[in-house]
């Protein structure tokens, strides 16, 4: 790391702290904005021994059981689990608490795409100060990359979402459609299916920022470049265009179901075959099993289609936990976090809840890989999914204001979807707004 870079970062942290104090005018700002962490693995053990109280924000289904198991193992530590809202709702509350200077939890669940945003505002503790950097080889490369921002370890990965093709085999069989391995075949399948039965669609996509960025990621596009406060946004790069080339055929050809994701109608579509495939993260089986029970036995998993036959995939969704700089006991918080995402007892609970791990030991564990899923008609789905986690394309990064970027996705790219128009126009509009926002916020944004 060059001196210039670290000088920038130092300035940045001073500026960020000044900004906090500035806004709150007369009010005191709870902490100094930087982490005062200095410690090691033994300090963490000491903190666990000494005990104390922690607050942990999470909406994951496994959190409750994990906290209970932790408290049993470390009776001196009292963890208060709070469900402060699902994804963006929680981020809003976290952002407010950061802005107010108090009220943030000690440990907080954050999805990968949102991590840079909170890391930038110096709201997350650099865990390498507690020796957690040594855990690197326990996690898959792509998830480890996602929790390292600008040379700091700002969280530990909990789950991962290497992408795969989930398809409704009974629908495919009924219409004699072969499982596509390339995107061209996928488009052809979309046409065949919709021609055979106009009420059936290859998939539902009404514009989802997470999906779009993952698809661009797989296609080799790297639209967001971050170097400190210098940012580039290029939503017309080669990889992006590769994706729009394929997806435009579906959007402009009206071959996509217009049911918005995660709505009641969407779940229904997954159950009755009107939405025949999903290209999504490896955490999806758990959702299907618990929320689309009627379709048990219909669904199968295949590798994500590719452009040229070379296996490559991307991450979609997934996240981990971080320690906030507002924490009054960061050593204890870091110790809890270490247990949460690397202790076998905790991972076991996590896997039992249907989660897909980020830990290499579990991704390679034969018991896990060879598990036959009853819901998927006995298919060893983890063979496909763990292979996918090895094929994740490298070098991706999200914007330091990705939460905002995703919030205006519907205003821009969503318009292309709504009008069945060229996605490139929508992406260009998104890019314009992202550049303008970045510059307004004091970044130096190039295109």
């Amino acid at each position: 790391m060059s001196n210039a870079r670290s000088a920038v970062r130092r300035t940045l942290s001073v500026v960020a702290a000044a900004a906090l104090i500035g806004t709150l005018a007369a009010c005191s700002s709870g902490d100094d904005g930087g982490s005062a962490g200095s410690g090691s693995a033994s300090d963490l053990d000491a903190a666990l021994e000494k005990g104390g109280e922690l607050t942990y924000w999470s909406w994951t289904p496994s959190a409750e059981a994990q906290v209970a198991a932790f408290e049993e193992a470390y009776p001196n530590v009292d963890v208060e689990l709070v469900n402060a809202g699902t994804n963006t709702e929680e981020y809003t509350k976290l952002q407010n608490a950061i802005k107010a200077g108090s009220g943030a939890p000690d440990v907080v669940q954050i999805e990968y795409y949102a991590i840079p945003q909170f890391a930038l505002s110096e709201s997350l503790v650099d865990l390498s100060a507690y020796g957690l950097g040594d855990l690197e080889d326990q996690f898959s490369a792509s998830t480890w990359g996602a929790v390292n921002v600008d040379g700091k370890l700002v969280g530990l990965p909990q789950d991962s979402g290497p992408m795969a093709l989930f398809y409704n085999a009974s629908v495919f069989d009924q219409y004699g459609i072969a499982v596509p391995t390339t995107w061209d075949e996928y488009v052809q399948a979309a046409k065949d299916l919709n021609a055979a039965d106009p009420t059936k669609f290859i998939t539902a996509d009404t514009g989802d920022a997470g999906f779009t960025t993952s698809m661009i990621w797989q296609a080799g596009g790297r639209p967001f470049g971050i170097d400190g406060t210098d940012i580039t946004v290029d939503l017309a790069d080669e990889g992006t265009q590769k994706w729009t080339g394929v997806w435009n055929e579906l959007v402009e050809g009206k071959l996509l179901s217009t049911t918005p994701g995660w709505t009641d109608e969407w779940y229904q579509g997954l159950g009755d075959g009107s939405i025949a495939t999903l290209v999504t993260g490896a955490w999806m089986p758990g959702v299907l099993e618990s929320s689309v029970p009627d379709a048990a036995g219909d669904w199968r998993v295949a590798p994500m289609p590719t452009y040229d036959g070379t296996p490559v995939t991307a991450e979609n969704g997934g996240g981990g936990q971080s320690v906030t700089t507002q924490s009054e006991n960061p050593a204890l918080a870091a110790a809890f976090l270490r247990w949460l995402n690397s202790d076998p007892a905790s991972i076991e609970v996590f896997l039992a809840s249907g989660g897909f791990p980020a830990t290499t030991a579990d991704l390679e564990n034969p018991d896990f890989v060879n598990l036959e899923s009853e819901y998927f008609g006995g298919q060893k789905i983890n063979e496909v999914l763990t292979q996918a986690s090895k094929d994740v394309s490298t070098g991706w990064s999200y914007l330091p204001y990705q939460v905002y970027a995703n919030s205006i996705f519907g205003d821009t790219v969503g318009q292309s979807y709504a009008n069945n128009a060229d996605l490139n126009d929508g992406l260009a509009a998104w890019q314009d707004q992202l550049v303008q926002y970045g510059n307004d916020q004091g970044f130096t944004v190039g295109e």
Binding site: K99, S121, Q268, G269, G410, Q415
Partner: protein, 278 residues
């Protein structure tokens, strides 16, 4: 008086003052906070997203408010006309939706609107067509207007109805002596007597329209591309601060909308009542 004022200062005046203060600054994620005078206001006045939202709520105001108040008026006159069987039943039933929290109302209508599996789909199937698409761009404002009307028509009806109930009997007796028909009674006696109630209802409906937020915001998960983040000025202000951390721009929108609403409400009040008691 005093306790009201103290709390009022804390929860209304102080945030407004703080908003005005915020609207004169610009804070960046990188680069800190600076006094910028009226720059935020200038930026807002050339912001097409703000104007689009303002235009939308104005359209909503011009269509939905007259429709809602018209329906409320008709219902009130009908119940007051004594020509209905079981008028008490009508009164309470039409008023009931007002008791339903906006969140619940929108969740319910959202399910009903679903054009794949909701009631709209059932009706489409039955008609064998696809006429009902409540979430399409052309219809979304109507769909929202329908929810708002459903929630508040009974409330306004009750305001009108109660004003009708206190019209002194001698006025009717005089009308009867003059041989006035029912229509004449309505235009000659009832409507003039309702003037004050109509002014009040209009003012609160205008404020409600300009502050339109809950309904589109909750429906947004069902129509993400149609309902933008700047669909109404209030949603714009919300998203500016909570999604974009542009607290200063958000405060500017709040202040501009507040001044605008207050001015319009004041004008309606002035035009609507010649003699001012207060």
């Amino acid at each position: 008086m005093a306790p009201f004022l103290v709390v009022f200062l804390l929860v209304f005046i102080a945030p407004v003052a703080y908003s005005i203060y915020l609207s004169l600054f610009r804070e960046q994620m990188v680069g800190g906070n600076a006094f910028v005078g009226f720059e935020n206001y200038v930026a807002l006045f050339v912001d097409p997203q703000f104007w689009e939202g303002l235009g939308r709520v104005t359209l909503f105001l011009l269509v939905q408010v007259p429709v809602m108040l018209g329906l409320a008026l008709v219902a009130a006159l009908a119940i007051d006309s004594a020509r209905l069987h079981a008028s008490g039943f009508f009164r309470i039933v039409i008023f009931l939706p007002y008791a339903v929290p906006a969140v619940v109302a929108v969740l319910m209508w959202g399910f009903i609107y679903g054009d794949n599996f909701g009631l709209a789909a059932n009706i489409n199937d039955w008609l064998g067509s696809t006429v009902l698409t409540p979430f399409a761009r052309e219809w979304i404002l109507v769909s929202i207007g329908n929810i708002v009307t459903w929630e508040f028509v009974g409330y306004n009806m009750l305001i009108f109805y109660s004003a009708l109930r206190v019209i002194p009997t001698d006025l009717y007796e005089a009308a009867e002596l003059d041989g006035a028909g029912p229509m004449r009674v309505i235009t000659g006696i009832k409507l003039p007597a309702l003037r004050g109630a109509i002014v009040i209802a209009t003012i609160f409906s205008i404020i409600g329209s300009f502050q339109l937020f809950n309904e589109p915001n909750i429906l947004r998960t069902l129509a993400p591309n149609i309902i933008t983040t700047y669909f109404t000025p209030n949603m714009y202000a919300y998203n500016l601060s909570f999604a974009g951390q542009q607290y200063n721009a958000s405060a500017t929108v709040a202040i501009v909308m507040g001044v605008l609403t207050a001015v319009i409400a004041y004008v309606v009040q002035l035009r609507g009542s010649r003699k001012e008691e207060l």
